[in-house]
Symmetry: C2
Amino acid sequence: MPRRTAPGRPGGADGKDATWQAQKSAATRNQIIEAAIDCLVKVGYARTTTTRIASTAGLSRGAMLHHFPTKLDIVKAAVEALHAKRLKAFRKSIVAAPPAGRGRVHQAVQAYWQHVRHRLFVAFFELSVAARTDPELDAVLRPAQAAFDEAWIQTAREAFPEWQGDPEAFDLALHLSRYLLEGMSVSFLTHEDPERGERVLEYLEDLLRNLRPTGNGQRRLRSN
Amino acid sequence: MPRRTAPGRPGGADGKDATWQAQKSAATRNQIIEAAIDCLVKVGYARTTTTRIASTAGLSRGAMLHHFPTKLDIVKAAVEALHAKRLKAFRKSIVAAPPAGRGRVHQAVQAYWQHVRHRLFVAFFELSVAARTDPELDAVLRPAQAAFDEAWIQTAREAFPEWQGDPEAFDLALHLSRYLLEGMSVSFLTHEDPERGERVLEYLEDLLRNLRPTGNGQRRLRSN
DNA sequence: ACGGAAAAAGTCAAAGCTGTTTGAAACCGG
DNA sequence: CCGGTTTCAAACAGCTTTGACTTTTTCCGT
C-alpha cells in the first residue's frame, strides 16, 4: 500500500493531511499551470513552448516534465484550471447585480464585458484559435468548452429568474450579448483601439431592456 | 538599359508587353501568395512554414525564396492580396442590395455575414491573432488593416446614402453589425456549431431597420 | 544512519525550420 | 551559337523544440 499521496491529488484528498512533499508537488503543478496561462496571454499558443513554460514557472524543463510528461498534459491541466477560474469569476460578478431596476442590466453587461476583457479570456481565446487547426488540442478543448458553456448558461438562468418566463427571449439576449461582446473584445485584442465600445455597450443595454419580458411574455421591440 | 521587365512588376506595367518570362514570374508569385493564403486557412499561421507554402504552390523552397527572400516578404504580399480581394468581394456584394424596402437591410446583413464566413476572412483572422503577439507581423498588418477599414467604411457610406442624414446612427449600425457578425463567425470557427445564428441575424436586421433614419434624423428605438 | 521514493536537473537524439550559398536548367537578345 | 540573366532546385549551417533517458539532490519512514 503506498504510504504517500500520489502526485496530482490535492493535499488532504484522502481525508488525511498530505505530506509536505505532496503539498509541494501540488504547488509546483499549480505554478506550472499558472505559467502556461501566462505564456498563452503573453506570447500566444504557438510560442508557448515547454522551454518557455518551465522558465516562466521558475524550474527546469526536466523538473516540469516529471510533473507533466508531455506538453499536452500541461495544456489539459491549463484548460481545466482556466475554465474553473473563468466560471468562478463570472459567478462572482453576476451576483453583484442589483435585484431590480436599470442598474441590473447595466451590471450584467459590464460583468460580461469585463469577463471578455480579462486575461483568462485571452488565454482561452488563444487556445480556441489554435484548436481550429489542431485536432489533438481540439479533442481536449471541445468537451471542456461544452461543459463550460453548459455551466455558464445554468449560472445565467439562476441569476436572472425574471427572464425565465420567456426562454426564447432569454436565449436570444444571451447569444446576442455573447457574440457582440466577444466580437468587440477580439477586435480590440487584434487590431482596434479600445475607444469606441461605449456607444455599442450602451446600445446593447437598451436592447436587453427592451428584450426583457414585461410579465405578459411579449417583447416590446417589433419589426417594421 | 535593362531589356527585361524587373521581377515583381506585373506584365505591361511599363506600357509595353512583358516578356513571357516576366509574366511567368508574376504568375509564380501569385501562385505562392495563393498557397500562403491556403495554408493560413488550412493549418493556421503558426504552421504556415516556408516548406509548406512551397509544397502547396508546387515548387521548391529554393525557387520560392528566389521570388520572396524571406517569409515576411511572402506574408506582406499575402496581406496585400488578401485585403484587395476582400474589399473587391465586399463591394460586389453590396451593390447587389435592392434600392429600397425590407430586402435592402436583409441583403446588407447577408452580404457581411457571407463576408465573415469566407475563407479570406479566416486567413485574415489567423494573421490578426498572430499579430497580437508578433510585433514584426503587427507592423505589417496594422497599417494594412487601417487602410482596409478606411476603404470599407467609405464603400459602406457610398452604398447607403440614406443613412448619411444621421452619421451617428450609421456609425453605430456599422460597428454593431461588424462586432456581432465577426463575434458570431469567430465562435463558429473555433468551438460552436453554426446552427443557432439565424435568430440573431433576424434580430440584427430588425435592429438595423429600427436604427435606420426615417427622414427626421431621429431613431425610433428609445431606452426605457 | 540507511534504503527507497520522489523531485529536480542535465543530456541526448530526432525532427523541423529559416536564410544563405551553390549549381543546374531555362530563357533571351545579339 | 553564345554569353548573360532569370528561374528553379539542392545542400548546408545554425537554431529551436520535444520526449526520453540518466544522474543528482531532496525527502521520508524505519
